[in-house]
Symmetry: C2
Subunit: 504 residues, 2 copies
Amino acid sequence: MLLALVVIAAMGMRVSGWAARLSENLFAQGIPGKVPACATCHGLRGEGGGEGVFPRIAGQPAAYLETQLKAFRDGGRSNPLMSPAVAGLSDADIGAVAAFLELEQPPFAASPTPDESRLARGQRLVALGRWDMGVPACTSCHGAALQGVAPAIPALSGQSSRYLSAQLRAYKNGARAPGPLALMGRIARGMSGEDIEDAALYIGSLQAGASPQIPRPAAPESYVAKPQSPDGFVPPPEAAIPEGPYGELVRLGQSIFEDTPKYAASYAGNTLSCRNCHLDRGRDPKSSPMWAAYVHYPEYRKKDGLVNTIQMRIQGCFRYSQNGTVPEADSREITALVTYFYWMAAGLPVGVKPRAAGYPKLDPPKEVPSPERGARVYASNCALCHGEGGLGRSSGGQQVFPPLWGPHSFNWGAGMHQVDRAAGFIKTSMPFGAGGTLTDQEAWDVAAYVNSRPRPQDPRFTESVEKTRELYHADHEYDYYGREVDGLVLGAPGALEERDKHSR
Amino acid sequence: MLLALVVIAAMGMRVSGWAARLSENLFAQGIPGKVPACATCHGLRGEGGGEGVFPRIAGQPAAYLETQLKAFRDGGRSNPLMSPAVAGLSDADIGAVAAFLELEQPPFAASPTPDESRLARGQRLVALGRWDMGVPACTSCHGAALQGVAPAIPALSGQSSRYLSAQLRAYKNGARAPGPLALMGRIARGMSGEDIEDAALYIGSLQAGASPQIPRPAAPESYVAKPQSPDGFVPPPEAAIPEGPYGELVRLGQSIFEDTPKYAASYAGNTLSCRNCHLDRGRDPKSSPMWAAYVHYPEYRKKDGLVNTIQMRIQGCFRYSQNGTVPEADSREITALVTYFYWMAAGLPVGVKPRAAGYPKLDPPKEVPSPERGARVYASNCALCHGEGGLGRSSGGQQVFPPLWGPHSFNWGAGMHQVDRAAGFIKTSMPFGAGGTLTDQEAWDVAAYVNSRPRPQDPRFTESVEKTRELYHADHEYDYYGREVDGLVLGAPGALEERDKHSR
């Protein structure tokens, strides 16, 4: 019977009637003489309690809750109250309670009195991260409103500062197991004690449903651009974006970079945003930073046989990576992006290509990249965020993790479809917060796997897939365009739809 | 009778019949017992002789020849052969011979055997100048084919290297009077002995009618852009423009900059070129250099209330300074100019506004700038090149000196119509090769004079001249737009045509 509940919950349907009542009873009353009621500590609807000591468990992904409860019960996670409390729960009980809690939405607790300067510091960490310390923005994985992303990534919204900082400290000092791919362990170790307190303070202060925004200081930080060396370049701090029309355009460019489908809605052809490939909003030196790009255009590109201005280069991203419509060179969108890049490049010499330009290059692979081996690497390291089917993961109606193939990903003309480029990016930056953990060969293999999946047609398609491969793909080693994989010719008209049908 | 000849010649008509024969006789036979025949030394048709010792005098502007002959006769210019030879000539004789010679076009003498490296050095000097030493390109004043510009500027084409170097040395050491505005004296003093020899060698080697081109080395000079300080910045040498599509686009931008009506023919609305206001092809640090502009855009401009990319800024020049049609932001013309500027800015830090950006600013004038005083400054210092009527001077069908007002000049929206900007430019850069010779007050006065003349309508014209003045001109001190000068309201519809009629 409880198994049936789990199945219903897993199907994403609202738990109702007798089944819901049963799991609600378990939550509210426990199992007499065996398991104490969850509500005793975690609040009548799972909203948390004990002045923040007991976490909010309502609204968390059921799978995440199950994992945690089983960990408490079986010893993977240890807590003097929880471990004995859940000892008497069967897997079915756990599934039932988790399914019930996922759908609960009690109001948030009152915000703590904020300390403005610490809150602002926490906000920066939560909304922007500290990528130089390996700390992505919390929103990158937990969602724009920290609402969590099923199945594995818990909501942080509505959680008390006290609980959050306790958990981050536990991750940092190893008292809590580091979780999937050991990500939270790594990230917490990249945070100072002060970082942890301030980030937790800020998240605890958020109103229900609020998305962390980039903090905007009352008066911009004063910043005077000085000549800098192209190597070791540090862009101006976000807080130094000035007031006035220039600063507004920089901010618009930043917003488009952060959420392309929202801020360049007329041109975005998929759910990707610029920042998906250019981490830390285009600042990260390891993922083709925009400050480095800005200073080496205009440049001749073999891709279109033209000298490209920075505007034309961005248009290319809309056409290929965004699989979208190309904005005019003087459209507000392109101008805003150019202005954002210009602002970010302050102090960099024109025409001196920084070493950071483009993506890191790996040595040639020892063995020919293998999609088969890559599929295994993918399942263990990538599927957590990008999904088994490569379609990415959404939460709250917004794409959190980008699709890597399929109809909503970049097309066969995008730079990232090239195996060598993808391998360099994956090796240094993936998984988020754990760059460098794959071997070079694993990076090559998983890049080959991702790039041997179907995706939207190359917009330069001419005549036939053979002709198009000859014109635009023959030069790139390990380019799967036009090759037959699993009985389908990649890039052939209809191949994407065909594969899409199979995977349903 | 001889006076009539002069009048005919001055009217630009072909000297013919008995009048021509008379002056030809004077040239070919002299005045027996009194004046030796010019042809004895200068060749049967004035092509020069004595292996380059005796200059080519055919095809020179009649007024220039008259000035020189009178100077030899009256002691202003001294030469052991010429001074006694012309002692017996009357003003009328001189006028007749000068009028005859202006229209003669004997073939050029054979080129001397060239020394390639010295020729290339000379070519750079002739076509590009050495502006840092106060030496403009020879072509800036003598015309694109060195054909001379009537009335005052002699042709250099067809002249022997020997004669040219002798004259430049004479200018340099003071043996020849420095000529109008003392320009040639200053310029020759800016040249080294080697400069003089090489420039003369190159000019002597030119085929009839050939225009000096920017030298293009067989293999571009190797040049590695290095970070440079914005103050004291030196752009890459012209010879370092690389081969290939990028270099070709840089060259196209340079050509458009050099001769806008020719290379951006669809968009140029007058006979001005970019280089007329931005000397040394946009490299000169004293006249709003393009390398300095490149690194501080995108920037907010009050002029249009928008953040301007460098493309938009250049579009503004086409609209106002060119009084033309605005090319699209991604047109080949704008892209070529942007690429040229980018190439020129190599090594300059982005976003750090160099001190050289824009035009030099003068201290406020001691007295309110006076067009009346300015008219006198203009007549003595500017009319030589820009003409009494401000319409500039052409030669060989090409504009050599730009019009400063009237229908073919910049319009009422151009930056240069602002008196403060014009005053700063004039003070530091005018006359060509003699910047800094006017007092500040003279520069203010002559700028006021130039800017109190009629010119094409402000393209932002709205409703009426009063309304347009209020919207766009009221903020600029000493802006003559909408003011009444000599009974005409400047900028009022029809004012330009009215003034044009008066001045004919």
